[in-house]
């Protein structure tokens, strides 16, 4: 992307565009559009000449010839003593729970012969409702991470010592009354850990425990204190809201670690009938970076994060909820936006909801509460958190106090239970230096990370899939965390570590959890309740949290806000967000996450300093220019990525990259933004300077990969066959045929004989673009289910990523302030599949049930099929991506799907293994009919928005058939007479006519 081409603006006139290059029509972009792969993509290997490769190949052929003389001996190793009810080779599902960012999500985990292979949401768990986010799906790879901590480190160096020596060391520390003892952990939402902690604090009354999460809800709690005079948890119910205003809140994306907000929000985005059109919600988003919440908003206003507070004040004042504060008139767009929001919120009344993002200061949260109260919103409730026990500190303030204590020599023993504070703590705390002053520092963790290297002792922790625990979710439900496999490296859970220090009676993770719960139950039912709780994943009879009454004193709040010092918004603002791939860095060594393209930037393998086209233009910066971001003594280098829709003079950078001490996957990937993050402005700060360094960096972005030519043969007709279709509800009501009329389909005649598909099951899929948020959960679920390899950054830049679902993101409108839409594109299972008739070896053929079958063992890798695929959804194994994979990582594979070799084409098959499994099951059960909804594809299963529906289109009563009957149903590129089985339900935009 060159500067000149930005200036030319919309040279191509494309309505839906993927990148600024496309908008400008650069040669680089045309390559992605017209060629199957960019030039040079077919080169076999780097650093090896073709001749060398041939030599190696000749040698290996020779060896292969010799080796093939003998048939490899395979053993069958049955159990010595059979396990009751266990059938070898069969998949079993167990419930468990994952804790991330202080949030618990109930999960169902598929295991094959004792090894967990796939994670799904637990439908019975109220926070999951069957869905799992991309990170939850990918967390299984962390279990088999070959770089996981498997050994003890002493002073950062490997040691032969193990638990007995460590325990002896522990005994040697005299803790006395605990005045020198500190614990540092993630947010504790495990009741059994809390009980163990209470015992520890009782035994060592002067000890202190600090809970620290990088992404926490502490601003929300502080906002409640400001508004209500007391701490409350805010529980928004998005399904009860008709008009939602998100103040810098990415509740559909990274501001929620659980799929619940998306589940709730999408309930009022799916349109099944006419009435649903009037129930559909409207979302206004105000934000600095372009989040997926912003992409799903019907109206979005970009502004610096620091300006959101004034907007909240204006909103509250305009609604009459707040007196005494002046409304600050902004630009024309802002004023119009504000007026429209006010009108809409007022008319929604009890169905109105204003949410503030966790990065916004307390006053914005308090204002949101005030607005909700004045509107009489029924879509939010407040819950009184359990009273914090003395000795427990939390949040950034807690970490600050701890660091101060460490520096002043008050801390002699620090026990770090998970987490990586040396990396995640804000730069000004200088946690590593403080840690060095602690005589006995112990780090329990899954990784040999920065903290492990700086602590006196590092001991291996247990992954959540290999140890017992429990977790309370925000609504009060408690789920048991059940191990799927024994600890691989003898790791321990945080509760075990604390129990070891206090010398408690229960030392095993199982005993700690089980005895904590069973002691609360009547003795005769204990075993029964316990078994049921473990089976269901939810402890029966735990009371859900109750909403508390809370009211805001508007006058007091107005006075408090008026007294707040006015924050400067001068200069460049830098804001920090969670990474869609690595969260706060804890998934940095997770290759699935690193390679999953960010929903908005489409970056893989790294982060970037995101800035608006105008900001970049002002500094003559382009994509990949490395700049120094600095403020005072804090500075970092980061590569620029121009992000349309970003607020001007505002840079956003995601945390969780640039890990120095990390496994092979995540080491030195991206830029470490913690270097410029300070504790008094941890989320955004103004006054940064951006200085070009003259160095260049190559981003691995997939935004142009698989671009579909939407102009067709009539190049002069712009968008003659739009691949993404949307319409406003107003227009749709007026003209339901609006979607169909977007393209002109001539009378089509096939040169092939007509095939009839009116017998038996005929599989099809409908994807609702109104509901889809583009969250990536389906992409990772598909990867886990179908053994899709990871290719690495270098290969991604060549367009060789293997994801079977490509999440296409299009911008609409001007480059500075566009809208964005998301569209998942899997194989469409065309009835007249163009790939099939060009395959010279019949490796891809049609099944009688309408699937476009792919026989990997037949494929010889001509790639003709990919060349002929108009959707570019076929993926080719250019290299043997499994070759250098450690054996351990292979444990994650789904045994029901073939692991593909180099030179083989692959693609989505509607999870044919799941179809066949259910078919065989139905046949064995007396050849009964397969029920609608009995087969769910992996993407459908995990979709938090329930946007994907799969089923038998030959059954007039199936859900998919009914959806496909809607007028907004359209087939992508139907003009080609390929008759895709996967169709889309066009996006319905609930626009406010006043802003349209």
């Amino acid at each position: 992307m060159s500067l000149i081409s930005i200036k030319t603006g919309n040279a191509t006139g494309a309505k839906y565009w993927r990148s600024l290059d496309q908008l400008a029509g650069t040669a680089e972009f045309r390559q992605w559009l017209e060629r199957e792969f960019p030039a040079g993509a077919s080169e076999m290997l780097d650093g090896q000449s073709r001749r060398n490769v041939l030599k190696v190949m000749a040698a290996s052929f020779g060896l292969a010839g010799l080796a093939a003389c003998r048939r490899p001996v395979e053993h069958i190793l049955p159990y010595a003593k059979a396990v009751e009810d266990l059938i070898p080779g069969q998949a079993y599902y167990y419930s468990s729970v994952m804790t991330l960012g202080g949030q618990a999500t109930g999960l169902l985990i598929e295991t094959h012969d004792g090894r967990p292979t796939k994670i799904e949401g637990n439908p019975d768990h109220p926070v999951s409702l069957g869905a799992a986010t991309a990170m939850q799906q990918a967390s299984i790879l962390g279990l088999y991470d070959p770089d996981r901590s498997a050994r003890f480190l002493e002073n950062g160096a490997e040691t032969k010592k193990s638990w007995p020596e460590f325990q002896a060391y522990l005994k040697g520390i005299s803790l006395g009354d605990g005045s020198g003892l500190r614990f540092l952990s993630d947010a504790v939402i495990s009741p059994s850990l809390a009980a163990v902690r209470a015992d520890a604090l009782k035994k060592y009354p002067k000890a202190k425990w600090v809970e620290f999460e990088t992404f926490s809800r502490e601003n929300e709690r502080a906002g409640a204190v400001l508004a209500f005079g007391d701490a409350f948890e805010v529980h928004p119910q998005f399904d009860k809201a008709k008009v939602i205003v998100a103040l810098d809140s990415d509740f559909l994306g990274l501001d929620s670690a659980s799929p619940l907000p998306t589940k709730q929000f999408s309930k009022r985005r799916r349109v099944g009938s006419e009435e649903d059109l009037d129930r559909i919600n409207r979302l206004y988003a105000v934000e600095s970076q372009f989040s997926i919440t912003g992409a799903n908003a019907d109206h979005r206003l970009r502004m610096k994060a620091a300006e959101v507070k004034q907007l909240a004040i204006d909103l509250a004042a305009s609604l009459g909820a707040l007196q005494g504060l002046n409304i600050v008139g902004g630009g024309d767009k802002r004023a119009k936006f504000l007026a429209a929001m006010v009108k809409d919120l007022k008319s929604a009344g009890a169905e109105a909801l204003v949410v503030a993002g966790p990065r916004q200061p307390a006053s914005v949260h308090a204002l949101a509460a005030l607005i909700n109260q004045s509107l009489g919103s029924a879509a939010v409730s407040y819950v009184k958190p359990e009273k914090a026990e003395p000795g427990i500190d939390s949040g950034l303030a807690g970490l600050k106090t701890l660091t101060a204590d460490m520096n002043s020599g008050q801390v002699s023993t620090l026990v770090i239970l998970g987490g990586n504070p040396v990396y995640t703590a804000p730069a000004d705390l200088q946690f590593a230096a403080a840690l060095a002053k602690v005589a006995n520092s112990i780090h329990l963790g899954l990784e040999e990370d920065e903290t492990a290297a700086s602590a006196k002792w590092h001991v291996p922790g247990a992954h959540y899939l290999e140890t017992w625990s429990d977790a309370r979710s925000t609504d009060g439900t408690v789920a048991i965390q059940q191990p799927m496999i024994d600890t691989m490296y003898g790791g321990k859970s945080p509760a075990q570590m604390v129990a070891m220090i206090t010398g408690a009676k229960d030392q095993k993770a199982y005993d700690i959890v089980k005895n904590f719960w069973t002691s609360q139950w009547p003795a005769k039912d204990r075993e029964k309740i316990w078994r049921k709780s473990v089976h269901d994943g939810i402890i029966a009879g735990v009371k859900p949290v109750e909403a508390a009454k809370a009211s805001v004193d508007a006058k007091k709040l107005a006075a408090a806000i008026a007294a707040e010092p006015k924050a400067s918004t001068d200069g460049v603002e830098v804001s920090f967000v969670a990474s869609s791939a690595t969260w706060d860095g804890r998934f940095a060594n997770n290759a699935w996450m690193q390679e999953a393209p960010d929903p908005m930037t489409k970056l893989t393998w790294g982060n970037a300093a995101l800035m608006s086209p105008a900001t970049a233009r002002a500094q003559s910066l382009t994509d990949g220019d490395i700049v120094t971001l600095s403020r005072g003594s804090y500075k970092m280098e980061a590569a620029v990525l121009i992000q349309p829709g970003q607020a001007d003079q505002a840079v956003t950078i995601s945390l969780g990259y640039g890990r120095a001490k990390c496994g092979r996957v995540g080491r030195d990937v991206g830029f470490n933004a913690n270097l410029i993050r300070v504790s008094d402005s941890p989320w955004f700060a103004s006054g940064f300077s951006v200085a070009p360094t003259g160095k260049k960096f190559k981003h691995a972005s997939t935004q142009e990969h698989g671009t579909i030519d939407d102009k067709g043969v009539n190049a002069e007709h712009q968008n003659s066959r739009p691949v993404y279709r949307e319409v406003s509800i107003e227009e749709y009501k007026k003209n339901p045929k609006a979607i169909e009329e977007m393209s002109e389909i001539p009378e089509l005649q096939s040169i092939y004989p007509e095939r009839v598909y009116d017998q038996g099951y005929q599989w099809g899929m409908a994807i609702d673009l109104t509901a889809c948020t583009g969250c990536n959960a389906c992409v990772v679920a598909c990867q886990a289910e179908n053994n899709i390899p990871v290719v690495g950054k270098e290969q991604v830049t060549r367009g060789r990523e293997m994801h079977w679902i490509r999440m296409d993101r299009y911008y609409v409108g001007p480059e500075d302030d566009p809208r964005a839409v998301e569209q998942p594109v899997p194989c469409m299972q065309c009835e007249n599949a163009p790939c099939e008739n060009v395959c010279p070896v019949a490796a891809t053929t049609h099944s009688p049930e309408g699937l476009n079958d792919m026989a990997y063992n037949r494929c010889v890798g001509t790639r003709y099929c990919l060349n002929n695929c108009p959707f570019k959804v076929r993926h080719f194994n250019f290299l043997n991506f499994h070759k250098h994979e450690p054996e351990l990582e292979g444990m994650v594979y789904n045994p029901d799907v073939t692991v593909r070799m180099r030179g083989v084409m692959e693609k989505c098959t509607y999870c044919v293994q799941r179809i066949q499994e259910t078919r065989i099951k139905a046949k064995n059960e007396g050849r009964r009919a397969i029920k609608d909804g009995e087969i769910v594809t992996a993407c459908q299963q995990t979709c938090p928005a329930d946007a994907i529906v799969f089923g038998n289109i030959n059954d007039p009563n199936s859900r998919v058939t009914k959806l496909k009957k809607q007028e907004r149903n359209y087939a992508m590129l139907a003009e080609l007479d390929i008759r895709p089985r996967t169709t889309y339900l066009a996006k319905l935009r609930n626009e406010n006519p006043e802003l349209a």
Binding site: R71, I87, G89, R858
Partner: protein
């Protein structure tokens, strides 16, 4: 210019050419023949760690196949039995036999007996025992007369042509489902129907329709 080679050398050249040609042909033919599954796979008879005789147990003693391979009718895999299954009898029968030392050792230590796999399908083939057994395809169709084998060997080629032959014309291999483990079953001559006719009746009655498309077996 005089010829360097005499005219007779033409013949040598022709013979040489013919030999190379024939050699190549023989090579191709040999390769094709010796790598064909009926040649390379059938008859595979590895030595098992325990000299277990199917002829004795399944043939003479008349143990049903299901007794040991208990998962065939309820799962994709026909599991090889746990050591415990052997010990059900062998704590009483021949408890001291030296040939059973490994079995007793496995039972005591919990270490599995390393049986050698004989019937081997490639990783990209997904065969489901339950589906076949429930449909009425007998063990004998793919495994042969196991009840007559002292040491088991692979009888059928188990290649794709073998599978497809039956999937295209299943009638000769379909019998009443309760008789699948009766390896020596023959239709009762008094009934007046041969195996194919019985098979056809069952196919019609159960609506059997074995898949012949790729994803039926390859996923």
């Amino acid at each position: 210019m005089a010829a360097i080679f005499p005219k007779s050398s033409d013949l040598i050249l022709k013979i040489l050419g013919a030999m190379v040609g024939l050699g190549a042909l023989a090579g191709v033919a040999g390769y094709a023949y010796y790598t064909y599954p009926t040649v390379i796979d059938t008859g595979y008879q590895p030595v098992q760690p325990v000299p277990y005789s199917h002829k004795l147990h399944a043939g003479q003693l008349g143990l049903d196949c299901f007794y040991c391979h208990s998962t065939v009718y309820k799962a994709a895999y026909a599991a090889v039995p746990a050591t415990e299954t052997c010990m059900n009898c062998h704590t009483k029968v021949k408890p001291e036999s030296p040939r059973l030392a490994l079995v007793r050792q496995s039972f005591a230590t919990g270490q599995p007996i390393p049986w050698v796999k004989i019937h081997f399908l490639p990783d990209f083939v997904y065969f489901n025992h339950q589906a076949h057994v429930t449909a009425g395809v007998s063990c004998v169709s793919c495994h042969g007369r196991i009840d007559q084998m002292i040491e088991v060997h692979q009888e059928k080629p188990l290649n794709m042509a073998f599978c497809l032959a039956c999937h295209r014309d299943p009638a000769p291999n379909v019998r009443p489902a309760e008789l699948v483990t009766k390896l020596d079953w023959q239709p009762d001559p008094a009934m007046g129907k041969d195996a194919r006719e019985i098979g056809q009746e069952i196919i019609a009655q159960k609506h059997l329709n074995p898949p012949t498309n790729c994803s039926g077996c390859h996923r």
